[in-house]
């Protein structure tokens, strides 16, 4: 009995916490619905079955932090038709990109008893700095509904619908009062891309920027206002240097605030 060839999906992990892969597993109800239309060919977190590819869709979690991973991602890219990064690590370097502003060798010496066994890069960088990426799914962790949307739309041959507007729009749709305006709480919502459903401000917490910079976000104007309202610059630097701290729009602004950046920021 012959069937239509089903798209082969591979799920690959680099430097990450596995949370995005868990989001994929947590989407089991939705995935079972489409299971007949896809073939999970490589997903070590879910199955020991290994299919060497090539893959129609590679879902890549994690950032590049070692020389061997820098080679491995090239190999996966060569064996994959579409390469999709999932999560903040893969799209922006993740929380581990904090090392990019620190002394990497000192960390290795402080943490490991035998530093000579450790072979890592001085930086944690997004996948797109190493190979071409077809689609980036944001979030720390990713929103599983968005992930299902991406998989289903690829199977259906259409463009995924993942909004790029600010978190503010979602706050207003759900009726959340702006905590920056009403309570003076620093919040990255105005410069952060939607995706979580605006959870934190609904609980009186400022947005942490889990979904990374919104399209054409104006981080300079926001931090200027937060500074004027009394948030100290070091606090703003920490706010920006979070899961997506190495995303360009957040990175430039935190470096400007830290006084480290030699580039001219307009």
């Amino acid at each position: 009995m012959s069937a239509e060839p089903k798209p082969k999906i591979g799920v690959f992990k680099f430097a990450s916490c596995d949370g995005c892969q868990l989001s994929l597993l947590a989407a089991e109800d939705e995935l079972l619905t489409v299971a007949g239309k896809i073939d999970i060919a490589y997903f070590l977190e879910a199955t020991s079955h290994i299919d060497a590819g090539p893959y129609d869709i590679a879902l890549v979690e994690g950032s590049i932090t070692t020389p061997s991973d820098a080679l491995r991602i090239r190999d996966i890219r060569q064996r994959s038709k579409y390469l999709i990064t999932i999560g903040a690590c893969a799209t922006a370097g993740g929380i581990q990109a904090l090392r990019n502003w620190a002394d990497h060798d000192e960390f290795v010496r402080a943490v490991y008893a035998r530093p000579e066994y450790i072979e890592t890069l001085a930086t944690s960088t997004p996948i797109a700095e190493h190979v071409p990426v077809d689609f980036e799914l944001r979030g720390c962790p990713i929103n599983r509904h968005q992930l299902v949307e991406v998989i289903v739309s690829l199977v259906a041959g259409r463009r995924p619908k993942t909004p790029s507007h600010s978190v503010c729009l979602d706050c207003k749709r759900r009726g959340t009062v702006c905590i920056t305006v009403a309570q003076g709480v620093p919040c990255l919502g105005p410069v952060t891309q939607s995706g979580c459903g605006a959870i934190c401000p609904a609980y009186d917490r400022g947005c942490y920027g889990c979904f990374g910079p919104a399209k054409q976000c104006n981080t300079g104007s926001l931090s200027q206002q937060l500074l004027a309202d009394g948030t100290p610059a070091p606090e703003l630097v920490q706010l920006l240097r979070n899961y997506n701290g190495y995303a360009p729009e957040f990175r430039y602004e935190s470096e400007r605030l830290a006084g480290l950046n030699s580039e001219v920021i307009s």
């Binding site: 939705e30 507007h165 009062v177 702006c178 104006n218």
Partner: protein, 373 residues
């Protein structure tokens, strides 16, 4: 037929609960001001005790704070982050559904049975905003059924402002602070009760079920003085003289670039604006591709993707999106709907995270002496 609004009666403060009760008995879902997340919002209320008794709001560009009043007034504040459009034009609506059957796709209008709303505490600028949205959604060739179903049954209890925030400029837009029409009943708060005016037969019928008393001359004077206090406290102004032509001939003014540097393009101003009505409509299909729902969500001209057409977005930078919003609101709105889209409520000033002030921008755009071509 509008009633004679010069005759008014007195409702004791202790009887305001009866107004809420009568509305509830008649099947209305009463929405009124109440405190949530350090602000006065509009939400479902059942009791006078849920009103922000003894609270007021202090507002400035990019800043809103609740503060204690020295008295125990129930309506001693102005407008907050919510507006009534949340109820008349909900943030998310399912418009149609479609199912794949053996006879192909079957489409039908989505079920929509909204509650009968009674709005308690509608201010003059908000009455004006409802009038503006009535024009947008109910007049002309295309009537919006979602809005119509909610609007036609709504009962409106207006409240006259007795104070103003620093962000208020309704007097410039000639929308307030006095409630003159568009309400069923209108209240002016006094220390021990309310002066009540009737706006419609429905309002009069409701009032007949309440234990009102004739109003004393002194109470009328007191109410008028309190309303005048709101007028006197308004300091912000927008010069609307020839504003349509002014804005539409200043499309290359350097101020647009300058404000574009400050604007976050975050959409907050459009979301809090009680007249902004933009939305996007999207088909949301189930995973099997058997069922689809057409959803309408609040959207904003500040979103890059909102002007996306084949080839890319039309308004590619923040400057052009701010200019689009301001010129539509204050100029081309007049061509489109016969009035300004701004009612002077000041929400866009208060709730802008970086405090961009629409009145200040207009003032700056009036300054000439540059090449505006």
């Amino acid at each position: 037929m509008p009633m004679n609004s010069t005759s008014s009666v007195f409702l004791a403060r202790s009887d305001l609960q009866l107004l809420i009760d009568r509305l509830a008995e008649q099947g209305f879902e009463v929405i009124g001001p109440t405190i949530s997340q350090a602000a006065i919002v509009y939400d479902r209320i059942h009791s006078v005790s849920e009103l922000p008794q003894g609270w007021t709001d202090r507002q400035a560009p990019g800043e809103y704070r609740l503060e204690r009043r020295e008295d125990d007034q129930l309506f001693g504040y102005v407008v907050g982050p919510h507006s009534w459009k949340r109820y008349l034009f909900p943030p998310l609506t399912t418009l149609t559904t479609a199912d794949l059957t053996t006879n192909g796709w079957q489409m039908r209008a989505a079920d929509d049975n909204p509650p009968k709303y009674a709005f308690l505490g509608v201010r003059a600028c908000e009455l004006a905003a409802i009038r503006v949205q009535d024009k947008v959604f109910l007049e002309g060739a295309y009537v919006d059924p979602t809005y119509q179903r909610r609007r036609q049954n709504a009962f409106i209890v207006a409240v006259n402002c007795t104070q103003a925030a620093s962000t208020c400029f309704c007097t410039s837009m000639e929308t307030g602070p006095r409630c003159r029409s568009g309400f069923d009943l209108a209240l002016t708060e006094l220390p021990d009760g309310f002066e009540v005016e009737v706006g419609t037969p429905a309002g009069e019928a409701l009032l007949l079920q309440l234990p009102t008393t004739p109003i004393a001359e002194q109470q009328l004077t007191d109410a008028e003085q309190r309303r005048q206090q709101a007028v006197d406290q308004i300091t912000r102004k927008m010069d609307t003289e020839g504003i349509r032509d002014l804005l539409l001939t200043q499309l290359n003014h350097p101020r647009w670039e300058e404000v574009g540097q400050r604007c976050l393009s975050c959409t907050n101003c459009t979301m809090v604006c009680p007249t902004c009505f933009c939305s996007s409509v999207e088909e949301v299909a189930d995973l099997e591709g058997q069922h689809s729902e057409r959803e309408r969500r609040w959207d904003s001209c500040f979103n890059l993707d909102f002007s996306y057409v084949s080839g890319g977005p039309v308004r590619r930078d923040i400057r052009s999106r701010y200019r689009q919003w301001l010129t539509h609101k204050l100029a081309s709105w007049i061509d489109q709907f016969g009035s300004s889209g701004c009612v002077g409520c000041g929400r866009c000033i208060t709730w802008c995270p970086v405090g961009i002030d629409i009145t200040e921008e207009v003032a700056a755009l009036r300054e000439v002496g540059h090449d505006n071509k």
